[in-house]
Amino acid sequence: MGPALLLAPALVFLAVAYLLPLIDLARISAAGAPWWAHFERVFSVPLYWESLLRTMGVALTVAALCAAFGYPTALLIHRTRGVTRVMIATAIILPYFIAVLIRTYAWMVLLGRNGPINKSAIWLGFYEQPMALLFNRGAVLLGMTAVLLPLMVLSIYSSLSRLDQSLVRAALASGAGPLAVFWRVLLPLTAPGVGAGFLLVFVSALGFFITPTLLGGPADQMFAMHITQQAESITGEGFLQALAVVLLVITLVVVGVAGKLMGFEFIWGGGRLAEVAPAPARARARTQSGVAAAGADLLGWPALRVLGRLPGGWGAWTVRLMAGFVIGVLILPILVVIVISFSSASYLTFPPPGWSLRWYEKFFSDPDWMAAFRNSLVIAAMSACIAVALGASAAVGIVRGELRYKSALMLLLVSPMIVPPVVLGLSLYGLFLKLGLVGTHVGLAAAHAIGGVPIVVVIVAAALQGVDRRLEQSAAVHGAAPFTVFRTVTLPAIAPGLAAAVFFAFLHSFDELVLSLFLSSPRLRTLPLRLWADVNYQLNPVLAVVSALEVAMVIVGVALARPIFGRSRAAH
């Protein structure tokens, strides 16, 4: 039983802070007369029903775009080596650590009337007046795709890297041109990775509201926005809760179906726990039926051969161009924002008319900003402590414990990752009111930790599974007690993973906006909250300063962690 007990703290925490409020949410939503009254309103009032359909459509489009652009990018990372590969991978992954709010803000700058895109288009003579690139569906799709791309790239890349490298060579040697290799070998065998990425992006996009709010127009209202907008005038009658429950149920259904089809491991992108090594590919060989075979002969194979006659470089250049475009899309907004932070103008224009540090001075001398900054640091530190304490012990418990239903427990521990934050925020508000936790550091830290625990569990579990059990066994054989083994063998081996978990849990809390919107008070504002208020009302370059500082913080953190990551990666 030993290690399994370590799961208790995390499970208790999640039960009280996460499951109970959600159950309460469902209860309130069904408190109408009759119980389905609120739900009926959701599905019959066009405003909500249409926005639900619109949200699903947007989420599907974003997922498809991410898949289409993410695959060449993952391929490019896979095919490059050495410094180039590190640089490209960093360019893709680094933006993902930066808060959604900041990245969306960067797109507002980029697409603004005085932003670089309009400015260069006019300069190049494409048109004479700045175009309204913002506040439409295109901007929303672009912004959301840009934010979620790294998720897809990572998912596809991990699938690509698990592929037996000699398969591509075998296909080449068997006469398959590069395109045939992609279509007949790479794509079928990485389909699980693409599928997992698609689902993760889709599920995340369903609950998005930051990006659509900032980049979209009135016709781009997404479902989650109803919950946040109406939360200002929160009523206990249950309609808001019904909206949240509908969103939650849809998310759970999608995840459930996906989990049945491809195994729930896709959520945390990992392999099975303490079981036989995963089968190399879930795609089972199918012998083609007569019709399918005839179709393939008539259309597929000739098409493949015609395309195969394209000069060999085309495929490689398509990959490079698309991946390059993706890298530009991910990096450009951040660079623009950093440049703007040094602008001497008091409105957002690019290129800046002059250089100045006035906005940095303004930020550091403004008591409100500094208070928000301090609050965020304190809360993030507390949240990281909570998340790591609970999550790391849970990870040890689940990986090393002798338990049944490990997959179900892991699913529970990781489930906060897929629940839309707006749903969580609404569900917690009632509980926080009762406990008097609204607007307190501890309250916010605990709320953020709900999302931090899954991150820590996934990272530490992966680190633990990478530890060679035989090292521990040989220590035990030579006389070390279990705790000593843990202290002297296991702990040093997972130290890089632990450090990473601390970093990510901290970052998660520092960047957190949605829960804070529900659970903070005018007296306690975090940095993201202050940013959110200003983005909606003021939009001055101080926001760029905050963004630049966050980017610097992330870069420093990753740079410090790189040697540790490098070592642990080499160990694989």
Partner: protein
Amino acid sequence: MNEVSAAPAARGDVDAPSPGGAREAIGSAIAMRGVVKAYGAFRAADSIDLDVEPGEFITLLGPSGSGKTTLLNLLAGFQALDGGEIRIDGKPIHNVPTHRRGFGMVFQSYALFPNMTVAQNVAFPMRMAGLDRAATDRRVAETLDMMRLGEHALKTPSQMSGGQQQRVAIARAIVMRPKVVLMDEPLSALDRRLRESIQIELRDLHRAIGSTFIFVTHDQSEALTMSDRIAVMDNGRIVQIGSPEEIYRHPRSRFVASFVGESNLIEARVLERRGERMRLRGRAGHVFEAESAAGGAADDVTVLVRPERIALCAADAPDALSATVVSALFMGETLRIVARTDSGETLQLRRPDAAGRALPTEGERVHVRWGSHDCWVLA
């Protein structure tokens, strides 16, 4: 519609009568001149010249890092030449991408497509070449029978053992009857028994289909079993090339002598030369005769004597050498004896087990000798 004409020119004719008996030399001749592959200052392939006869089974043998896999990769087109040229049947191939070279290739990790059945795996090259289904199915069935895989056609690779998977990989490589078959240490992942039986199968397969086989391995016994010729490689160069007998019996350097088979390398001084025969004195003072094609004038030479060529003899034999037994092991079909001479040289002996043949004890004093045909003076 018959799309045979769409097939790359280098592949064997699909409709040729399936060979079951005499060898038709459909293999290609391969000529390499000054082939270089460099990584900065390090040369993985250092100006290699090699001529491979059509239909030959040639093995590239060497330790890791010797450049044998590099050479194979250059041949296959996975890496680009940094210098020199490679010609197949007289035509240069450095501009031809891998998938158009028309070779067959077998990999150490089998590299079977996990999402396809055995039949689909083997049919893959034919589908890539655009051949019609009927011809493909026929040829695939034939090839599977050749490799004794007929009943496994609908299984997936994960349902088969290592040896069976390797056979599938070989079937896929030869299904188009290519003129050149490349093999990159294909048997290294198999256990010894399986390796030995597939070695013989490969030898027979080569005789049956007549393609040129280029085989890469670090296992010298594999090389000796299957090859028409062996090219021994070291540090990016071919240090000796010849038939298995030549390589084994008449190595030209210490490296080849000790890499291929076990060896006793004995320092000796030349007493007398008479044409092809030499009279030598070893360090322990014993005098023996040797044959050598080396015409060198050196007085101090190294003589190779293989362990199986040293015999135990009586003390009064003319060229007997006395030694003390250090260890004697019974290894089943052979007795392995290590003995140290009075001058401190260590000799390895291998003697087949026979009735009445006792294992010497440690510390026992023995006498050994070898005939002039049993030793070889290294150049």
